[in-house]
């Protein structure tokens, strides 16, 4: 909402407060003033001149040589390029020495050999936006009414010595979509009175019923419809002050009748529509829902298809307006219009919103209906419009108002106690302070022993319950004056749930291990949705995606992590180690919320470790990824229950992928990206993993139990076993541990050999075994006996033989 400071001053006394100060006060008490703009933009030296002579420039086709009276001793010669300049016009002249917006200084000049002492200005040159300049002056200079005084300050006559406040209104404050509404707000802030405009209508002796009748067939959409007939109007420009106010408010002036309806819209927040009575084609107005297939050509010359969800004004046969949104071209007020039917109606929000949505038409009128107008002011606005039409369009107002109404003003009464106000706010206001605020708001109220009974005016439709009143009191009392306290309540410790705390440990661990946390998008494309997923379901698709790229919910974190890796690689960041913790979304049926399962995923590519000048360089490989996960399982005491099983999964290297099982249940995988996928993402050797984090963190982990520090020396024996190359190291190790119980405590693999010194198809695996008895020192014989047992077991199970 654009609010002219000077115009506002007609409704509320602004003496002693500048536009800037006012803006600050308004912002502080609840409505944000986005900016304050001075319309004159530093202009000076622009006067109204009278074009005495206007003839072609002798040396230029497109220029005119004008003799202009500026109210000084001698008229001056000005060269003008505007196509519409003509003898006899009153125009805005920037004199020599004048300053126009942008600090543009006017100097004496010679144009094609002819002297020019100033510049005849268009409105745009005077800082007015093209979109609000009246159409007839859009491509040329502005012409003042013939009675404009020569030599007077043109800026003043154009109402540009003014400032405009741009209010940013929250949806609840539709009352401030009108000058009067803003005036009430400002009056409440400043503690001053509101002066309402006068609307005294002089009626002729006829009666409106002789001209028209109104029937509303959809009263729930249109509870109140009122109208008046104004005859013998002369269509012409509206008074300059009115045009100036419309332009300041961002509305383009058209003609007196249309301008008056717009002026009332701004003043009262009540949209009006003026029909050319003679073009209505009947003597009745019927308001109804449109019929399917019906059409209307609106003022913008667009044919619009209507449905039963739209409300139309009809002449009893066909639509003449799309109610509350835009009039029809067939009944438009034109230059030859003489009789006008003014419509003042209250249309309810949903039906208007539907029309705006379906037709992509948002107007000043529809915005107000959508947000809700004050029906108590509808007829007052109609009266004021009729009065202005008789004053500024020479019209004769026909007696009486035609009306169809089911609307009853229900008065909203709210009670609230002083105790409640202070209790909710934490303040210590007195009855008198609250009473003063309510008075400034001009809310009629009574007070009895600290209980306020407030009759809420209909203009404030946002106020219905005691909290609304508390808010009004609070914002006008001033939040600056609110004390700062802390809740007084029983002290309960806060904290994280065990799951949340463990998840933080996971993060710390992975970051300590060298991975960076990534956060990627949850929405993805259909082809990526199920890729790599541990578990898949029917992809969940948005009803109205913004792009195919972000149209379905992901079921794995890996595709976007790969994109991140690829993004980095394309920017010369070759070594990437990223992890992400986030949800995947698995449908449980179309009409229920999906399962949201938290996953942990990672991607590793390039060098994992590089310390080049000392010759250390380690590329990320399967065992780097596995080692990271092993550490994680250790951290949560699950290592003993974790198993890696070779697996084949789509998009992963068939020989370098393992599924990870916890207590027999697969909870994740780790593996190398399939070379084809690496190529697709423009990546080199890349490793990924994904785990069902919830399964991991919800698993029962072993509590820490102290084990005595060894008191006796342990014995270490190494064995190198030759086995078939397809024997898994994990299985062999498990067999050794099993056979070595209880004396063999640690079995660790320290060498893997395949090559010339072994027969084809064989490999050697070397383990180090630590023997220990907590009760005593072991003898060589005891160790040797167990060692033999181990050897026998692995020979039996795997055909393993000691490497010679």
């Amino acid at each position: 909402m654009l609010v002219s400071y000077r115009w506002l001053g007609e409704y509320v006394d602004l003496t002693g407060i500048t536009a800037k100060e006012l803006a600050e006060r308004i912002t502080k008490s609840g409505i944000e003033v986005e900016r304050v703009e001075a319309l004159d933009r530093g202009m000076k030296g622009v006067v109204i001149g009278h074009v005495l002579e206007c003839e072609p420039h002798p040396n230029a086709d497109k220029l005119r040589k004008c003799l202009v009276d500026l109210g000084e001793d001698e008229p001056v010669q000005i060269i003008c390029g505007a196509p519409n300049v003509a003898k006899g016009q009153k125009v805005a002249v920037a004199k020599v020495g004048a300053v126009l917006p942008g600090n543009f200084k006017i100097k004496r000049a010679k144009l094609r050999g002819e002297e020019s002492n100033g510049m005849i200005c268009s409105l745009q040159e005077l800082g007015v936006e093209t979109k609000v300049v009246p159409k007839e002056y859009a491509d040329g200079i502005f012409v003042f009414p013939s009675d404009a005084p020569i030599g007077a300050d043109a800026i003043e006559w154009l109402g540009l010595h003014d400032e405009v406040l741009e209010l940013s209104l929250t949806p609840n404050r539709a009352d401030c979509l009108s000058m009067i509404g803003v005036a009430y707000e400002v009056a409440a802030i400043l503690g001053r009175d509101v002066k309402l405009p006068e609307a005294a209508v002089k009626e002729n002796s006829e009666h409106v019923h002789e001209y028209i009748s109104v029937r509303v067939e959809a009263p729930e959409d249109n509870p109140l419809y009122a109208g008046r007939i104004v005859k013998n109007v002369r269509i012409g420009p509206s008074p300059l002050w009115m045009q100036a106010r419309l332009m300041a408010a961002g509305i383009r002036p058209h003609n007196n009748v249309v301008d008056i309806t717009n002026y009332i819209l701004l003043e009262y927040g009540q949209p009006l529509h003026a029909f050319d009575y003679d073009r209505l084609g009947s003597k009745e107005i019927v308001v109804r829902r449109a019929k399917a297939g019906e059409t209307i050509i609106t003022l913008d010359d667009v044919e619009r298809k209507l449905t039963e969800e739209h409300l139309v004004i009809t002449n009893g046969r066909e639509p003449v307006a799309l109610a509350g949104v835009m009039g029809g071209a067939n009944s438009e007020v034109r230059d030859d219009t003489t009789t006008v039917f003014i419509e003042a109606a209250y249309f309810t929000s949903p039906v208007i919103r539907q029309a705006v949505k379906d037709h992509g038409l948002r107007s000043e009128a529809s915005t107000r209906f959508e947000k809700g107008i004050d029906p108590a002011r509808t007829k007052e606005a109609l009266e004021r419009a009729a009065a202005l039409m008789s004053e500024y369009a020479g019209g004769e107002v026909v007696g009486g108002i035609v009306e169809a109404s089911v609307w009853r003003q229900d008065s909203v009464v709210v009670t609230v106690t002083l105790e409640r106000i202070n209790g909710v706010l934490g303040t210590a206001m007195s009855k008198e302070e609250v009473a003063a605020i309510l008075s400034n708001l001009q809310f009629p109220f009574t007070e009895d022993n600290g209980t306020f009974t407030i009759h809420v005016p209909s203009r404030r439709r946002d106020i219905a319950i005691e909290e609304d009143i508390i808010e009004e009191v609070a914002r006008l009392y001033g939040y600056d004056r609110l004390p700062a306290t802390l809740p007084v309540a029983e002290a309960k410790p806060g904290g994280l749930t065990p799951y949340q705390a463990k998840r933080r440990r996971v993060r710390r661990y992975l970051e300590g291990a060298g991975l960076f946390q990534a956060i990627t998008y949850s929405l993805t494309s259909p082809d990526k949705a199920t890729r790599f997923a541990l578990e898949t379901a029917e992809p969940i698709r948005l009803a109205l995606p913004m792009s195919e790229e972000r149209s379905v919910l992901r079921q794995s974190l890996i595709p976007h992590l790969l994109e991140a890796a690829s993004y980095n690689r394309a920017r010369q960041v070759e070594n990437v180690a990223l992890y992400e913790i986030g949800s995947v979304y698995l449908s449980k049926g179309e009409h229920v919320q999906p399962a949201e399962n938290e996953r942990l995923a990672g991607v590793l590519t390039g060098l994992w470790h590089a310390h080049l000048w000392q010759g250390e360089k380690k590329a990320a490989d399967f065992y780097v990824a596995k080692g990271i996960l092993d550490g994680l399982f250790d951290l949560f005491g699950l290592a003993a229950r974790i198993e890696y099983k070779p697996a084949k999964r789509a998009d992963l290297h068939p020989g370098r992928t393992a599924e990870i099982a916890l207590g027999g249940k697969v909870i994740g995988f780790v593996g190398q990206l399939h070379p084809a996928v690496q190529k697709e993402y423009d990546l080199k050797e890349t490793y990924v993993f994904e785990l069902a984090l919830t399964d991991l963190l919800n698993a029962e982990s072993e509590a820490i139990r102290y084990e005595p520090i060894p008191r006796f020396p342990s014995v270490v024996r190494d064995i190198a076993l030759v086995v078939d190359e397809n024997v898994e190291a994990g299985a062999l190790k498990q067999a050794i541990e099993e056979a070595g119980k209880p004396l063999v405590k640690d079995v660790s693999l320290f060498d893997v050999y395949k090559g010339d010194r072994l027969p084809d198809g064989k490999k050697s695996l070397a383990f180090s075994l630590r023997y220990y008895d907590p009760e005593r020192t072991l003898t060589d014989e005891e160790v040797a006996a167990v060692h033999e047992r181990v050897l026998a077991a692995v020979e039996k199970q795997f055909g393993a033989v000691l490497r010679g």
């Binding site: 939040y479 609110l482 004390p483 806060g494 990534a518």
Partner: protein, 344 residues
Amino acid sequence: MKERLYELKRQALEQIGQARDLKALNDVRVAYLGKKGPITEVLRGMGALPPEERPKIGALANEVREAIQQALEAKQAKLEQEEVERKLAAEAIDVTLPGRPVSLGNPHPLTRVIEEIEDLFIGMGYTVAEGPEVETDYYNFEALNLPKGHPARDMQDSFYITEEILLRTHTSPMQARTMEKHRGRGPVKIICPGKVYRRDTDDATHSHQFTQIEGLVVDRNIRMSDLKGTLREFARKLFGEGRDIRFRPSFFPFTEPSVEVDVSCFRCEGRGCGVCKGTGWIEILGAGMVHPNVLEMAGFDSKTYTGFAFGMGPERIAMLKYGIDDIRHFYQNDLRFLRQFLRV
């Protein structure tokens, strides 16, 4: 004989002084103190002396031997020390060469901000509540006093999946969910961090996916001044002591009164700068007293219970705190960006 001994001492000390290494020194030791050395020889020749002279010469000879012995030991220590120093000098390294790097990763900047805020409120007795990102229309809107057709729904263009299910547009559904779980009995004291989604085109200041942190306190006698005190405490811990906050009236359907909360600019201390656009204040939160409809819908008696709620955007806080200029950085995962958030 006396002279001979003095002469031996002088010669020995001279040779010890000249010895360059341990071997040379040992040669001197053998030459003077060995069994066939000159001092032994002198002692052997003592038989030729008159008996009264013998003890004197004997004592003198021992004295000389002692002196040489001491000189030898001192020199030996010195040579050994030099030897060690030579060896260490040869072992010197260039300490300015790079150390073996310990590869450390770090949390995402948003996680940093979120955890900092979580911890801050945990310290004030809050617990952390998390909930679904795919929400029902009821919890995302209706339970928050945004019935179907409410004009404020315009403010949040949403990603719907079906008519009743959508990606949550804010973390506020957790307010309703948590309150329901409490079955009308306070106190409720939670903060809810999480991802939210809106139908925005991604650009420098908009992201279709972003994060929010919401706070909610419901109890008997919760006052708006408690909200102010709580948020001031929060602002000072997050942005530094000496920060102040101010409330500006605003509108949210789920709170009444509603306010927007500004923190005095931490860059210019309120004098006005580019960060605060010259105002001295930075908007970081929306807040208010929980709307009675929201309390009632969640099963709380709004006559007995009052509450406050607040919400903020970790992206905005991170952008302000670290001077990040483009919201898309948070979701591109460029390591040149992520790596900058290593320091504690």
